[in-house]
Symmetry: D3
Subunit: 238 residues, 6 copies
């Protein structure tokens, strides 16, 4: 039995509240249960130095957790003067995941920055951030296309992410904090619609696992991402 009473292959309540803030070109408050992440997409008419003059765009991400998004207050990274290794690892993952589905040449020489700020954490903040980032990016790209700035759609496929893990011996989908902190093994899967894998990050916490277990988690992740893809479509009105 899972702490939340969910079935092994059952996701938490999932929602994408678009237009949560008004200034950004794309904005969404994504909820995976009690995990809530505000994602904004900001279009900037410039690219990082290494891409200047190459007629290609860029998509990047920044991630942060509000100090009291968690059970006990964490110190503010801006006050400490540096981002933790965990923060950097996560924002690099978000950026790679979104770049995996974006055609940079079609984007043109501009950059889209995805800011993922965790308002409340209950496990799975990075997977919620990736799933929400696609929605914010889609909205921003739609505006660029509507305005004529972009001719061809650079965002042909959807990407989503979900965490799975082995909890008390059972593979389960979409870990919440109670499961995440006691799982024997957990894995974050970033999947692209159509059955492709963008990224797998699987770690055995207390125990180790084998090929069979990895495959069972991958199959659960497929189920979960299919649900997320459907919710993403609905959120952006497709």
């Amino acid at each position: 039995m899972r702490p939340s009473g969910r079935a092994a292959d059952e996701m938490r309540a999932l929602s994408f509240e678009t237009g949560f803030t008004k200034h950004a070109e794309g904005s969404v408050l994504v909820s995976f249960g009690d995990t809530r992440v505000l994602v904004t997409a900001s279009v900037e008419e410039r690219v990082p130095p290494f891409l200047r003059g190459k007629a290609t765009g860029w998509v990047t991400a920044e991630y942060s957790m509000l100090p009291r998004a968690t059970h006990t207050r964490g110190s503010r990274e801006a006050a400490k003067g540096k981002q933790s290794g965990r923060t950097q690892e996560i924002q690099r993952l978000i950026g790679r995941s979104l770049r995996a589905v974006t055609d940079m040449a079609k984007l043109g020489e501009r950059q889209i920055v995805l800011d993922c700020d965790v308002i409340q954490a209950d496990g799975g903040t990075r997977t919620a951030a990736i799933s929400g980032a696609w929605v914010a990016l889609r909205i921003a790209v739609d505006k660029l296309m509507a305005s004529g700035a972009i001719a061809e759609d650079p965002l042909e496929r959807k990407v989503a992410a979900v965490s799975c893990g082995i909890h008390k011996g059972t593979p389960v989908l979409d870990l919440d904090y109670a499961e995440d902190s006691s799982a024997d093994a957990d894995a974050n899967f970033v999947l692209i619609e159509g059955g492709h894998i963008a990224e797998v990050q699987a770690t055995a916490e207390g125990a180790t696992y084998d090929e069979e277990a990895l495959l069972r988690l991958l199959r659960l992740a497929r189920l979960g991402c299919d649900r997320i893809f459907a919710a993403q479509d609905k959120a952006v009105g497709r």
Copy 2:
């Protein structure tokens, strides 16, 4: 005529949405029109080094703006590795304002940290933060009293803040961004219920002003803070 069509002494729509996040001992999403600030109060059973062993508590604040809270994206302070002078100035002001109404001896040897994170900015973020911080602090203190951790109420009076300014020659209350960016002079007033001043920060931007103007702004601030005090009372159920 104000850009928003408001009367000179008219505040924007004001709301305090308490319990916006679940982990913090006090939590509120405060809105002054389109300015929205999430304030959480975190109780920590320790005090800063300079107060250890003195049987007295502390209240402090941290302030941050999400990168895309504004019209154009600002760089993330955690990524730059330091907080701007503006950020530090504001969080020092918030802390002083709340300490002005807190009896530290009654709080006991513990610290309450008020995290003020601006979700969306449209002028007046620091005054919304102060006004909301009182609500979050009140809720956290009520929990400490309910649990028996504190015997006597350390928070006897309310504090609120509002900005006023001279816009096209007319003193107006509660500046929004359109007014703030073109005001000749503006002032932030932090007032305590009962007619007392906790803090005044008045600056002439393009022009200078005189005693008469300062007094007219102070009177507008009184009107505004009375409205905020009433809304604070309602938010915390008093």
Copy 3:
């Protein structure tokens, strides 16, 4: 009775020792009693990035306290690797105050940096710094005009600052350290000759105060700044 034996509206001995150092375009050692601040004005033939190519100048300030300017040694900000919030707040105030009396277009595309280094502190370092910065700026601008680099005087009015406070129930002018550390309320006033206010920063430390008290402090500040304006005139030979 004030700790120093001064009357309520009596300032400390005031002096501006110009030419204290030889390299800067403007240099003055300003003393408000035992508070001594060295201010230099450095002319740089470039402007900050946001002003490039706009045919306008800039005036900015930096502030620092020598580690042993105070009763007990403070740690050196360069060694700690960052400026405190207090330092940044003060240097922002100094810069704004001087910009309030400078016509940037007449200054031309150049920057004047006002370095305010506190040699000895006894209360009122920021107000001494602002008052001295005007002298250093005036000297530097006079040199630019004498050399023909500037055609029209960009510095039409004087600016000065003084702190006032309520000490044991009495409003007093020009707080020294003994008063500053025990005042119920204090305020820094930055005034422009002719009766205008550039900035007011009023804070109730232990108590709160009201409109009446704020006005009484403002009137004391006027008296004080009139004395400073006279001393500034004499220092620059006008």
Copy 4:
């Protein structure tokens, strides 16, 4: 055909040169072809703050690349004043991998730090570092056991790592730089002897891949790690 002429399941020349430096409790220069990493294990008779007084030990890792380990010189992280996200991600992975095979209670209240410094890079620096770190750790633990500081062996199993990828459509083992920089997908596998997975980090660079491809890479990794386990045994004389 691979750029190096190797067969798809062929590893590069592999060597562990133990005792490369004399001060560390464990020291090894590990080579995976032209990739050379110096790993030292330092025993410290203290643990991080969060473990004090818990009768348990800790294993952690730090990673760095010498500025000219690569084709073009990279800037030195100590001179830039911060470690890159890549560096932090890698050193976190190395630490987790070694902790997965260490019994912290048997280690006692002490810490072993694994410093992994890349002398020369030609692809696979993190996997060489993990594989070498086990050797350095084994040597250091053997000394602790020989001296009687530790009674029971805390390091019961071996851990090794290797990268695999899909290069021009073919799954290949142990990518060198030429392959790594042009692979469609690559994955780092951290495996524990006996067929268990400690960690999988799989990323599709230009393309995406599917379950089938992931499994083929995992099987190649098994082959590679078996070769590394044998070489580790030989290096430590077992």
Copy 5:
């Protein structure tokens, strides 16, 4: 002929103005010609961590140049967030020089910090700082002895420093900026009364020099330091 018209073995006007600031236990404004350095000695009743509980004291130094001490304004180290290599090199030299004449056991478990802040620079700031630091330290130690905190004098000998160099082929004493910036070779000598060398730092800038030249500079330094020792004696009233 030297730019200043001085003879080859002639020092600049030398002065030690003691009691320049009032808070420090020792304070002196030292002038070597137009080079002026404010040195304060601060007594702290604690020692650095590595000396705790060892019944021994410590003497350390910090050095800084005010931004406009020089011909053109240098950026402020506190604003840049780090001390330059030059600053650190100089403050390490000052600390070593004073420790060379201090008996740490007699000082007792306390630290004296020597803050050397360059008000105006015209060559030789580090040598002026060392020479002045001895004066400030002497005054502070005298106070500790007068108060009974220290029983035996820990400062038995004087230390002084001077720079010498080869200017247009001639060895000269006490380089000013005009000479320093065009010298073929220069050396800083830290000497102890009685003919001993505490430190030599000799550098050939454009040319190289030989044993003979080094000796000639050392003899000039002896002359110079004898003059400084006499002035130090007079400054502290011995």
Copy 6:
């Protein structure tokens, strides 16, 4: 008797292993006994900002010690976020020493960076680094000349360095760690072939020394550098 049993004027075993790494334009592992430093020379077709457009080159150095190069592990500077004063002092010395023998105009508008990473420390790391840096620089310059990028040899003379000290009353050559940590006085000499001095840094640690002692150390240094010059010649095949 020296701890190592060496004669007073006997150097440790000396070796230069060129081509130790493959990517750098020049690379050498230099050993002075158990002290081993990897030096690489990297040619960059750009110069620092202050030299741009001046048709002149630059030579600079960076120095670092691997955390466990020493008896006890030192913390990693990249992790601490800043380079120590000692590190900066040493890398400035290395850069100055190599620039003393390089004709920057002949080098052309390019920079050569000498990275000196201490693999193992046993005294004399900075002198080994300087001596090795000349070898790496010579190899890199030879490649530039062979490729035709440089027409005339910018590196006309050799430079080498060695430390000498007074150990138990006897002047000795090439201090190892056991001597260095107990020497009464020590000095680092940077000499240029032909009898010239590039730099002397002499410090009395516990005692002080006189002119006679300084000269005796200088003569030992001459002997030592002559041996190093011969080994350098051999290493680069001249």
